[in-house]
């Protein structure tokens, strides 16, 4: 008798396949990174127009943390809106749902893909932002540390955003609805990340305050991603 062995692929394997699929689509179409990158550049241009009259009059370093996060939030909103559009075409999502696996893996894979796109955009945007607006200023020595709040914030944006874009995928007026749901929900994270980024750029004696902000942001990430992990199955089953 021939023994056939059917082994379910491990969760990690499923995750890797789903993630590679998203990255491969992106690598071939370059749709997401192009549109998000262009949008970020346009927002920076708008900053240029709105700050042109005052740029020499005040210390832009104080505002730079907030301005940087505005670009990131709006750019990520654009990307998240599109992150499920390709899954809806040709009912690709239904195909994925037919696979007998834990639905939370889909959440994690999609979230990681969104996170990677967001990080790629930031690698382009943040140096551009510094080049355009902070060239004449002298940031504090801690300025390089802003990668930590950028990373922590991006993880949260990707997690919350993936959860919400799954919700808005099936709704009327989904672009507006995603913003309506996303911005209030992201707010605590945004607040903590902006304060950490600003403190790092401007420089502060109170290192404890920076770590407190980062801990708040990290805690919010953990709660939201855990909730997404638990609730994702219900979203896809509905």
């Amino acid at each position: 008798m021939v023994r056939t062995e059917m082994r379910n692929p491990s969760t990690l394997c499923q995750f890797r396949i789903l993630l590679t699929k998203d990255l491969r689509i992106e690598f071939r179409t370059k749709e997401m990174v192009t549109s998000m990158g262009l949008y970020a550049l346009l927002v920076l241009t708008v900053y240029g127009a709105s700050l042109a009259q005052t740029a020499w009059g005040f210390n832009i370093l104080q505002m730079s943390g907030g301005l940087l996060w505005v670009v990131i939030i709006f750019t990520s909103l654009l990307g998240l809106n599109r992150s499920f559009s390709q899954e809806k075409e040709f009912a690709a999502l239904d195909g994925i749902l037919l696979v007998p696996m834990d639905r939370s893996v889909i959440f994690l894979a999609k979230m990681t893909a969104n996170l990677i796109f967001l990080l790629v955009i930031q690698i382009i945007t943040v140096p551009l932002f510094i080049f355009f607006f902070l060239a004449t200023t002298t940031p504090a020595e801690t300025a390089l540390l802003i990668v930590i709040p950028l990373l922590v914030g991006s993880i949260g944006i990707a997690g919350i955003g993936t959860l919400l874009s799954t919700i808005t995928m099936h709704t009327r007026g989904k672009d507006v609805l995603l913003a309506v749901l996303f911005i209030p929900l992201i707010f605590p994270l945004l607040y903590a990340c902006v304060s950490a980024t600003s403190m790092m750029l401007v420089g502060t004696d109170d290192l404890g305050a920076i770590w407190r902000s980062l801990a708040l942001a990290g805690g919010y990430d953990v709660i939201m991603i855990l909730l997404g992990w638990v609730l994702y199955d219900f979203l896809l089953s509905a």
Binding site: L163, I167, P188, M224
Partner: protein
Amino acid sequence: MRSSSLSDRIVPLALVVGALLTTAAFLLAFLVAPLVAGASVGSTEIIGGIAVSNKLLLSQKIFFFHVPVAIVSFAALAFTAFYSIRYLMTKESRFDTRSRTATEIALVFIIATMASGDLWTRFDWGVWWVWEPRLTTYFILMLLVIAYFILRTAIDAPERKATFAAVFGIITFVDAPICFMITRLVPSSIHPVVFSTESSMSPLVLVPFLLALFGMLLVGFSLYRLRLRQVTLTNRIEFLKLQLEEKRQAESRKKRMMEETKAITVE
């Protein structure tokens, strides 16, 4: 099916008791509770013929309205989250109705809190609005609750609407503890920590406050029950109308068939 259960009969009574307790608390707050010292004036000044070194705030009386209403809004959101979880566990539409009703009550009380808080901000801090941590997080909470209803109207399929609303109701609730705890997390907040073991409230303040709190909780709860009853009855009427319509159609079809058979037999 009984038209009214025991709890439905208690509800109007609870509403009246809640209203009476709240009214009594307000009267006590104005007549019995002493004025609270606010910001210091700087040096001793003569105000109203008396030398004082700090201002006594009449506007602090809003405390007896503002804080209980805010607590009821948190409680209502807790109900929303609880019934949302119940809905996801059971998929019974009655839990969806409940969580929606609880969110409606939460929105009413949130708006009352915002309105009273805004007046208080104006008179105590001198500004209409300030991006202070407690205010900000509460404002976010209001936006989330409004977004909950926008989400509901944007989905057509009933089951999907209920599921998505339940998921959003649960994640919304994450902001409620943050808002409640923020005055402890961010010490720079201008809002005082009201609930702690070393709370310095004197009995003259504490008693009216607790009366207002229980009164408001009763008012909130009975409003929730009344609204729930109204929604349930509306749903039942809609269902009966639908059934009646189907029955009428079936009867007319039957009549037509009988007429046709009669016509055939006559021929």
